[in-house]
């Protein structure tokens, strides 16, 4: 089957920043994304778990988007504006999609 090269961008960010990030991505022309809950983890800011939170303030979410490679820089610029000062991880990986026109 014919596949097409794409970029998979995964941004793990604090839950209170989710709306700001998805708006910035939409403004940068990202037409599709998926927000996933994150159960817990650890990093430079220590261990955390969704279980021990009384509100969303201490939680994290993962925002995943698949885009055409030529759109990557614009997306990263927009994402960086939001995540720069916050706890989180931004990663980019290569992937392949079946229907290129959707990205």
């Amino acid at each position: 089957m014919q596949t097409h090269k794409a970029k998979r961008v995964e941004i793990i960010i604090e839950a209170p920043m989710e709306r700001r990030l998805t708006k910035a991505l939409a403004d940068a022309g990202v037409t599709g994304l998926t927000v996933l809950p994150v159960l817990g983890g650890s990093g430079r800011s220590g261990r955390w778990s969704r279980e021990g939170q009384v509100s969303r303030a201490g939680g994290m979410v993962a925002v995943v988007c698949l885009i055409r490679p030529d759109r990557l820089d614009r997306l990263l610029d927009a994402a960086f504006e939001v995540v720069e000062r916050h706890i989180g991880v931004v990663s980019v990986s290569d992937c392949e999609v079946l229907r290129a026109e959707r990205f």
């Binding site: 209170p16 700001r20 800011s45």
Partner: protein
């Protein structure tokens, strides 16, 4: 002193406090006991709706007077001023920098609605009535403290990410909308409305509060366990003394307004409590460099349990000693 100890002892063996203690114990014992996130959210919605509705129905039954407006203004002023008091105490008692101290201070100007609910439960248990509009006072005290905390940061030359979106999120956060909305429904429908749903929002209230505090105990216990070493001795002492300082501000406001014994206890409790829902979310957006472990552990792990177990009985005893009753 004897009366305070007696009140505290009675409070400590109430079902709601023992439920909280069970949660803390389970967390420290590393039990796998959990309240599912959606259930905890449902319990909090129930409690906010019930407390708001009953407050509104109380206002409908007893009418509106000038004290209502005065109490709302007092709540706004207390919420705006207490962060400055907390900030000064933190700078004197701890080694926290401006950013962390301001973020913590914001929590102590705002309020904990669960502490407020626990105080109303204690008053109800003793047959002490209070002004129904204290629910509205609780709602107006959520936000001004955040602005004070951000002003403390900006004044020091640091930046804070304050935008219109954040203001909307603070003023229209789910807790405030539900509390004020149910208060309005209770006020509009009055005693008749309360009678229609009392079997839902009055009779099961204590049981639901027990389950919710069990969850709060789990959250507070896990937070303390995972944040061991985050707080210095000075910060812990601050978390225990700031409520006592705050309650005196609340007492002064209540005496100026001429509130009833119950209203005075609630005003003291509001001024003594610290936020762990609305303010942390705002701080993560506006002051991302402030350490969330410090302010969450202090407000949820130190001040909340103190208020729940010893603080509220102390405030009730002080108010009773001054006002009689």
């Amino acid at each position: 002193m004897g009366e305070i100890l007696s009140l505290a002892a009675n409070n400590l063996i109430s079902p709601i406090i023992l439920s909280f203690a069970l949660g803390v114990f389970a967390a420290f014992a590393r039990s796998d006991l959990t309240i599912p996130e959606a259930v905890a959210k449902g319990l909090s919605i129930y409690l906010l709706f019930a407390i708001g509705f009953k407050g509104g129905a109380g206002v409908a039954a007893h009418g509106v007077d000038a004290k209502l407006v005065g109490s709302l203004v007092a709540g706004l002023v207390l919420s705006a001023v207490l962060p400055f008091v907390a900030f000064a105490m933190l700078r004197a008692m701890t080694k926290l920098g401006t950013l962390d101290a301001a973020a913590v201070a914001g929590h102590y100007g705002s309020i904990s609605i669960v502490t407020f609910v626990a105080a109303t439960s204690l008053l109800n248990g003793r047959g002490i009535s209070s002004e129904g509009y204290m629910v509205a006072v609780a709602a107006v005290m959520e936000a001004p403290a955040i602005l004070s905390a951000l002003w403390l940061v900006v004044r020091s030359g640091r930046g804070a990410d304050m935008d219109a979106g954040l203001m909307r999120e603070i003023l229209l956060n789910g807790s405030i909308v539900l509390l004020v909305g149910s208060f309005a429904i209770g006020w509009i429908t009055g005693e008749e409305g309360l009678a229609q749903i009392s079997s839902f929002i009055v009779a099961p209230f204590q049981g639901v509060l027990c389950l919710f505090l069990l969850d709060m105990g789990l959250v507070a216990g896990r937070g303390l366990r995972e944040s061991r070493g985050v707080l210095g001795a000075g910060a812990v002492v601050f978390g225990l003394t700031m409520p006592l300082v705050g309650c005196l501000f609340g007492l002064a406001a209540a005496l100026l307004l001429g509130l009833s014994l119950g209203g005075t206890v609630l005003m003291m409790t509001l001024a003594a409590s610290a936020s762990y829902i609305a303010v942390p979310a705002a701080m993560r957006v506006a002051l991302p460099e402030a350490n969330p472990s410090i302010y969450l552990t202090l407000s949820l792990g130190v001040t909340f349990p103190f208020n729940l177990t010893l603080g509220i009985p102390i405030y009730a005893a002080i108010a009773a000693a001054i006002l009689g009753g």
